[in-house]
């Protein structure tokens, strides 16, 4: 597997919405390389025809009756918000 570049680290950090400085990106690159080199051990395992496991118990598509219930009251939902206004979460501008 190819080495990880600093640009790749910055791309991943952008996807993860984490701001990184050039120094941090360099450190993360080293760590990611070490960890990915370690996990590549899995390539030794023959998994032809093996189904992936996402859930360990034999259950899928759990359904329930579609009964409407009350949601949380607005003042409680906003209680932990860093900023709110007029009953809504307040954020900086989204559009330029």
């Amino acid at each position: 597997m190819s080495k990880i570049s600093a640009d790749q680290v910055k791309h991943v950090a952008h996807l993860a919405r984490i701001a990184v400085s050039n120094e941090e990106a360099e450190k993360m690159r080293d760590e990611l390389e070490k960890i990915t080199a370690f996990v590549e051990k899995l390539n030794e395992v023959n998994t032809d025809g093996v189904e992936p496991t996402s859930h360990v118990l034999n259950m899928k598509n759990v359904m329930r009756e579609d009964v409407p219930t009350d949601g949380l009251p607005r003042e409680k939902v906003l209680k932990n918000a860093p900023q709110h206004q007029d009953g809504q979460f307040r954020v900086p501008s989204i559009l330029e």
């Binding site: 993860a16 984490i18 993360m28 960890i35 051990k41 954020v91 900086p92």
Partner: protein, 485 residues
């Protein structure tokens, strides 16, 4: 002698005879906390006023316990990633430093029905990512047996508080060993139940396909009572299993005659400390002496469990932790020009290094072009690891081995190299990947530090796991030793 040296059934009898009150039990907790928590650092937040008020109102019911819950009046500490209404819940992260939950986790509602008294919230590695509590965003918990050593993690606060006699009961959570490893390091009993047996509603999610809440206590019997109180199907957690919850304490007969016990050769092989191996050989002798048969088996994919775990857990974490964005709750960066910058700066400033490292690994493993090579590959290997366990359980009742490859290590010893730190979880991780239950019970000492015997059962085989754990505990006296603080 502390009141907490008595087991639950004895304390219930004392309460029933009015020899003690719930207030006495709550006093005992806060008294001990004021004496030792300055050294141990197990608690992040105390709930003293509410605890004392509940104790007072419970004391009015004394002598009339017909309606009393299973754990009437018992002080309990709760890991700080389990939400408690009106009681600060931080996940030991700066990003949730002032988070005040507006509802209770299902397990907390169940504890209320069982009539426990919540003493406070316990320290952990940030978002449960770590094996030493050194990743807490607030403070490091110390091992009560030796303050220079780590308590383990991520439920290090829970295990240390029980070991130090601050609370007789605690809840932890276990994604790759986070209940069993600290229980082993601190010489207490910690159980990770079958995946889906305990509701995860209100447990702040780390890796949703692996996370389970479970009890940490001083004895197997107390542990069994606490699990009976918190387990069961929950409509609010669609992954919770619809199975009956047995009264586990009834299966504790001290008898293992005729049980077939498997000992995986991979669990006592390379990388496992000699003293640890010795303690397991001794445990095998004890169990054989009680009439069980022990045979060596193989779990051939064990060596791939760690890599599988780090891909799956980090991938799931990168998705779960997307919710911490500085908009609806938690920390927000003081200055941001636009929304994207708000997200990025909030997360860069709010998360610690290990959390960022795992979000980065998970995001990378799920990103376009890498998904099949990393995430999907890991899920396929997970199937093989799970099958290893299924094969063994065709012929055996339980699997035993060490909980950890070494006793507790020194604070600062492993923090610099993430992969060395991860190796600590090598014997506990396969259990989470397979979704089976596992317990750690004290089984010896090395250089004055406790060691743990791990007993693993088949899916929903908790009764058998407790039966073996209890028989071993009753035949030994490791659990009777207490740290001197």
């Amino acid at each position: 002698m502390s009141l907490f040296d008595h087991k639950l059934s004895e304390l219930q009898e004392f309460l029933h005879k009015k020899e003690i009150t719930v207030t006495d039990l709550v006093n005992e907790s806060y008294q001990r906390i004021s004496e030792v928590d300055g050294k141990v650092n197990a608690f992040l937040t105390l709930d003293e006023e509410r605890a004392r008020n509940s104790a007072k109102s419970m004391d009015k019911q004394l002598g009339n316990e017909s309606s009393a819950g299973l754990l009437f009046g018992m002080p309990i500490g709760i890991k700080d990633n389990i939400v408690t209404k009106g009681l600060r819940t931080t996940c030991a992260s700066k990003i949730l430093e002032n988070f005040d939950p507006i509802y209770n986790a299902t397990v907390v509602e169940k504890l209320h029905k069982a009539d426990t008294v919540t003493i406070g919230k316990l320290n952990m590695d940030e978002f449960a990512m770590g094996s030493s509590n050194e990743n807490s965003g607030f403070k490091k918990t110390h091992n009560p047996w030796n303050l220079e050593k780590v308590p383990g993690g991520s439920s290090g606060g829970s295990a240390a508080a029980v070991a130090a006699g601050e609370v007789p009961f605690a809840l932890g959570s276990d994604t790759g060993g986070s209940i069993r490893q600290p229980a082993s390091f601190c010489g207490v009993v910690g159980m990770k139940p079958t995946y889906g047996f305990v509701s995860r509603y209100g447990l702040v999610a780390f890796a949703s396909s692996l996370d389970q809440i479970g009890p940490i206590t001083r004895t197997v019997e107390d542990n069994a009572y606490l699990l009976s109180a918190i387990a069961g199907h929950d409509p609010l957690d669609s992954t919770s299993a619809n199975v009956k919850v047995p009264h586990f304490a009834d299966s504790l007969k001290g008898d293992v005659k005729g049980l077939r016990i498997a000992v995986p050769k991979e669990y006592i092989g390379e990388g496992v400390n000699e003293e640890v191996k010795k303690s397991i050989k001794n445990a095998i002798k004890v169990l054989e002496g009680l009439g069980a048969t022990c045979e060596e088996v193989s779990l051939p994919h064990s060596k791939y469990a760690l890599a599988t775990y780090y891909l799956i857990a980090s991938s799931e974490a990168s998705a779960n932790l997307a919710r911490f964005d500085g908009v609806r709750y938690g920390y927000r960066t003081p200055e941001a020009e636009n929304l994207i910058e708000l997200y990025k700066k909030t997360r860069a400033e709010g998360f610690g290094d290990e959390v960022k490292r795992r979000i980065m690994l998970g995001t990378f493993a799920l990103s376009s072009g890498y998904y099949d090579a990393y995430y999907k590959k890991a899920q396929k290997v997970r199937t093989l690891i799970k099958k290893d366990f299924e094969d063994v359980f065709q012929n055996y009742d339980v699997i035993i081995g060490p909980t950890t490859p070494t006793p507790a290590f020194g604070i600062g010893e492993n923090i610099s190299d993430p992969v060395t730190m991860y190796v600590n979880d090598i014997l506990t991780i396969p259990v989470n990947l397979a979704g089976v239950p596992g317990i750690s019970v004290p089984c010896g000492f090395a250089e004055g530090m406790p060691l743990g015997l791990q007993i693993i059962g088949n899916h929903f085989g908790e009764s058998t796991v407790y039966q073996v754990a209890h028989a071993f505990e009753q035949a030994t006296d490791y659990h009777k030793q207490k740290p001197q603080l």
